[in-house]
């Protein structure tokens, strides 16, 4: 049908106005922020030392179940360590991995995406072929192989995620740069004689930044999941540092006797991933007018 006959709602808005009006950004961001606070103040918040074991107090149920031990609100694991404290400290690992790995994947992917999109030619051809090769790898298997190569540990997990997931950034950024470089502001930057790298980072990058922010948020969710997968397979963080994936794997061993041990870290994982996804979705919607400006 022709047209609605009414004007659209007021058109241009500032980024922050757009952000503030979005419930998902607030909801998701709030939960992510909460997790971040927990991670930041883990040593203060945790009621016990997450490494302190008491073999006499192993597999205590959480406080609301019969037979629980006072002071251990969520019960204890097979070594008698406080589950609540381990969850809190596990949050720290999860968020460190999320931020650092997503940041590393983003840095690599954005750089290559910018170069491919802006320089074109053989640079683009090379990077695009590289992306083709990369997306043909099974990601879970590749991450397992990579961590097997690098040896277990936080750094290996982060490297594995960055090495595997940079293509997510590169593909999207490349496409966006192809659009952006046709814009007038690029042409005028060229005419005033700015160098190519200067234009790329000074002019183009700020314009793809909102997009990168959305991808970054989404990648954090993926990083959290990958860390859990690798901990679960037994390849993630070494030593007795508590991680959600490791707790899931430990809980799985006693799934019949103490199902809560597996369910609680799974719950945390789901909550954080949900919140990150909501934040990413919300940012995407909120930043859409900015991107289309």
């Amino acid at each position: 049908m022709a047209e609605l006959g009414i004007d659209r709602l007021p058109g241009r808005q500032g980024v922050w106005v757009a952000l503030c009006g979005n419930a998902r950004v607030w909801g998701g961001g709030g939960v992510v922020g909460l997790f971040a606070l927990i991670a930041l103040f883990a040593p203060v918040l945790a009621p016990q030392d997450p490494l302190w074991q008491d073999l006499m107090l192993y597999q205590m149920p959480p406080a609301w179940l019969p037979g629980s031990e006072p002071g251990y609100w969520l019960g204890t694991d097979s070594l008698g360590r406080d589950l609540l404290s381990r969850l809190i400290h596990g949050t720290q690992v999860a968020l460190i991995v999320a931020v650092v790995a997503a940041g590393a994947a983003g840095a690599l992917g954005v750089l290559l995406g910018l170069m491919a999109g802006y320089f074109g030619g053989w640079v683009d051809a090379l990077i695009s072929r590289l992306i083709d090769v990369w997306v043909a790898f099974p990601p879970v298997l590749l991450s397992i192989v990579l961590v097997a190569v690098l040896g277990a540990g936080l750094h290996s997990v982060i490297i594995a995620i960055a090495v595997i997931d940079w293509t997510r950034f590169a593909r999207v950024v490349r496409a966006e740069v192809l659009v952006q470089k046709e814009q007038d502001y690029v042409a005028s930057a060229v005419t005033i004689g700015l160098g190519r790298w200067r234009i790329l980072f000074g002019e183009v990058l700020p314009n793809v930044a909102p997009l990168v922010l959305v991808l970054f948020t989404m990648e954090m969710a993926i990083a959290v999941i990958v860390e859990t997968i690798l901990s679960f397979v037994g390849l993630s963080v070494a030593s007795d540092r508590p991680t959600w994936g490791g707790m899931i794997a430990e809980g799985r061993q006693v799934i019949y006797e103490a199902p809560w041990m597996m369910l609680m870290p799974i719950g945390c994982l789901i909550a954080l991933v949900l919140a990150l996804n909501a934040l990413g979705d919300g940012l995407k919607t909120a930043l859409d007018p900015v991107l289309r400006r």
Partner: protein, 335 residues
């Protein structure tokens, strides 16, 4: 179908596969953990170790090893698995049908559920069922497939054990299958008892794999459907007096499928990649399960073969997605 397009895509796949093989080859040669070390028995000396090393060709330089491997691979010989002592190609082909059946079943489930959810959500725009659909898909998407697998084992294998949680079928039943595609074969033979038994084994891993994809597909399809529903041709069809069900299914659906197919091929490759962990959790005898075993045993030729198999699968999926896209979209087909 445009033959030229197909040929073009197949030609493009060659450098991709080459790249994959080089990367994985080099990667695997720097792995700490040596397949030979795994088979050194108590009492063996250094000369025994060296002898085994020569036997498996591990004494040469990496480029030399790659050259040998590539030469053989081009003739269809992908080497011999160190831990399973069999021809890699044969091993992979033996196990591949199990994974393909599982993935196909998961895809079918995901497609059906996603369509149902998307149609429900679209049909109930602005009312509570839409909110429920959005909430469910958003939540389901946040839970990775292997966590679903664990939750299913807890719920249906432990708390209420109604379904088998390991294996592909019950080995007590002696069946001779002519192919590796047990489910398809038993359906083709109208052997419904066997098919039902196979399905009972496959359903939990299949649903675990399917759920995250379902959520993604449902969201994609719902937004495409919602957009298609606002298109003029749907409005015009409405004016001809067609009911809402018909409008969604006959008018909007195919148009909505076009962008959904284009965007979902990556998601489908994630599903295939997810078999690695899910098959492991459910002791399902497919290539994913075999892959973890291969990594643990440092079985280099087998890992190599499996990674390449996954790469071929991924490329094939993208190709199928492109062809489906073309088949759905007449403008691409003729234009």
């Amino acid at each position: 179908m445009p033959i030229g397009f197909l040929v073009n895509r197949l030609v493009l796949a060659i450098p991709t596969l080459f790249g994959v093989s080089v990367v994985v080859f080099v990667l695997l040669r720097v792995v700490p953990g040596d397949p030979i070390a795994m088979m050194i028995p108590p009492g063996a000396g250094q000369e025994d170790i060296d002898r085994l090393r020569v036997l498996y060709g591990l004494d040469r330089s990496i480029p030399e090893q790659y050259g040998i491997w590539l030469g053989q691979a081009l003739t269809g010989d992908f080497g011999t698995s160190i831990s399973l002592r069999s021809d890699v190609l044969g091993l992979v082909l033996q196990r591949l049908p199990a994974t393909l059946e599982l993935a196909a079943l998961a895809l079918l489930i995901a497609g059906a559920l996603a369509t149902g959810l998307a149609v429900l959500g679209t049909a109930s725009r602005g009312r509570w069922p839409e909110a429920v659909v959005d909430g469910v898909t958003g939540t389901v998407q946040a839970i990775p497939d292997f966590v679903w697998g664990l939750l299913f084992i807890l719920a249906l294998g432990v708390l209420m054990p109604v379904l088998p949680i390991s294996g592909r079928f019950d080995p007590r039943i002696e069946i001779d299958f002519a192919t590796g595609f047990y489910l398809i074969e038993s359906l083709a033979r109208f052997d419904l008892d066997t098919a039902a038994m196979l399905l009972r084994h496959a359903i939990l891993p299949a649903v675990a794999l399917a759920l995250p994809l379902t959520a993604v597909l449902a969201r994609l399809l719902k937004s495409s459907l919602s957009e298609a529903m606002t298109q003029d041709y749907v409005q015009v069809a409405k004016v001809r007096g067609f009911g809402p069900g018909r409008l969604i299914v006959r008018e909007a659906m195919r148009n909505a499928l076009i962008p959904t197919v284009a965007l979902s091929s990556v998601q489908v490759t994630f599903l295939i990649g997810g078999t690695v962990l899910v098959e492991r959790i459910f002791s399902y005898p497919g290539i994913g399960n075999m892959a973890i075993g291969a990594v643990i045993n440092r079985d280099l030729p087998l890992i190599q073969g499996l990674v390449l198999t996954f790469a071929v699968l991924f490329i094939a999926i993208n190709l199928v997605a492109d062809l489906t896209y073309a088949a759905l979209n007449p403008r691409v087909r003729r234009g």
